[in-house]
Amino acid sequence: MTDFDPVIGLEVHAELLTRSKMFCGCAVVDSTAAEPNSSVCEICSGMPGSLPVINQRAVEYALRVALALNCSIAETSVFARKNYFYPDLPKGFQITQYEFPLATDGWIEIDDPSAPVSSKRVRIRRVHLEEDTGKLVHRERHSLVDYNRSGVPLLEIVSEPDLGSADQARLYSLSLRSLLRYLEVNSGDLEKGVMRFEANVSLRPAGSVELGTRTEIKNLNSFRALSRSIEYEIDRQATLLRSGKPVAQDTLGWNEEQQITVSQRSKEEAHDYRYFPEPDLPPLHIDETWVEQIRADLPELPAVKRARFMSEYGLNAYAAGVLTAERSTAAFYEAAIESSQGTSPVKIANWLSGDLFGLLNEAGVEIDQSKVTSEALAGLVALVETGQISAASGKAVLDVLFAEGGSPESVVEKEGLAQVQDQAAIRLIVEQVLSNNPDQVSEYLAGKPALSEWFVGQIMRETRGKADPARVRTELDAALLALNDQEQSQSGR
């Protein structure tokens, strides 16, 4: 049986978070929520005689992304018409970029935990600007068109076929999403359709350099659909090739219900888009000083921040990845360290990515809307680390902070969670527990040392988890030893 290497390239479409559309002043609205056709004018509905004018911020956002992806910026790029008839495209053509895109030849490092070297460089072929299309709602006997999305600035990011598995494709698109959110050019809300994917998939015999026939899977709207459809397509092509059948070059869709790819090729003809330079738009000239200004204003990007978190805070690769995936999380973490006065950054990371993330996810709350402030988290971790409260109490305090806000110190006081450090108080409870459980004491003394754990449990229960476990153990051991000596001397008499 022949083994095959998958060769995968991705096209990612990302809407840009501008206020107005790409070529007109209509507001960009949430196309999943707004009243249909409420933000549409003569330009984005393709009325004859209307003329497009380029949105400066859309160009700026595109340049941000292109620079963050290490691309070369074209001094002059050209908009082109892509001609086809489809009801979501009111003009009969889409304004896009074709021969002369805004930016080319970049790369992004993605984190691939399965690879021997954890980071993998994926080359970016091109980044270009275009306009989004309208939205179709299909009914039984007709379709309905809403042009609110028509003309929304859309960025297309095309990778080289450098991805070798569905998992790598998923990681690449996650990295892009993280990058777009860092750059504040896209919300990353996939369920609102602001990022869409197309995957080119082909197989070649393992070790071969020649490319096989590829298929293109269109309209993928979630990371799950992306990786599932690629996995399916790899299997489908491998089965064909193993039985000696060729793979047909094709455009495919992903059928979510059946979890299969389906051919979408029109029976009549392959698409013939007849691209030509957009006559209504002169070439786009990008001033170098503008580019340099945008470059200088770029924030610290996820990959760089992640490496810094590892070296500066001693985090492992996984924790650093989790804490830098979102800019807001990274900012929260660093603010917590800032206010912590020397608490271990690793401990803060554990509480943040473990317990607090758990609460946030469960409640569906973003970290910057959480009632737990970075100062409060840092304070809480410090209380646990200095032994003023137990780890179990720490979790209880966090629950209260998450629900009500406030400072950890005040919660500890109000809930009476301060750890019992008082040696005498602990000794009293130990003696009380031992005298209340004479049978277990006899068993212990008769040779069942494992029972000491049971005693610890009873004592902790008695103190409602507030006793310092180390002190409990010391006192318990001392008390048990005393009982043992007593027993020895009695039996020896």
Partner: protein
């Protein structure tokens, strides 16, 4: 440069035009004449000239990202042959749908 009838039919289809056989015949001749006329440009030596996307001596102007009011929806839908519920109703399309 003579266009074949097949090519004329393909071009007509891309433009969503329905042509009779006589029209295909007539337009094949006319379109070929237009192409021959334009082909005279091939005689100019352009080996020293880089491809030109626009003859306008200007760069694309950029507009600030400001929202302008849109016309009311009634106005937008005034010319729609078959509006329904604030949307444009069209024959059911499925080609690009999974």
């Amino acid at each position: 440069m003579a266009l074949t009838h097949e090519e004329v039919r393909a071009i007509a289809h891309l433009a969503r035009l329905q042509l009779t056989d006589e029209e295909v015949e007539r337009f094949a001749g006319q379109l070929s004449d237009v192409l021959d006329y334009a082909a005279r440009l091939n005689e100019v030596d352009t080996s020293e000239i880089s491809p030109t996307a626009s003859v306008l001596p200007m760069n694309a102007p950029l507009r600030p990202d400001e929202v302008r009011p849109c016309p009311p929806r009634d106005q937008l839908l005034a010319n729609a042959p078959d509006p329904a519920g604030g949307m444009f109703r069209v024959p059911r399309v499925l080609e690009l749908e999974p």
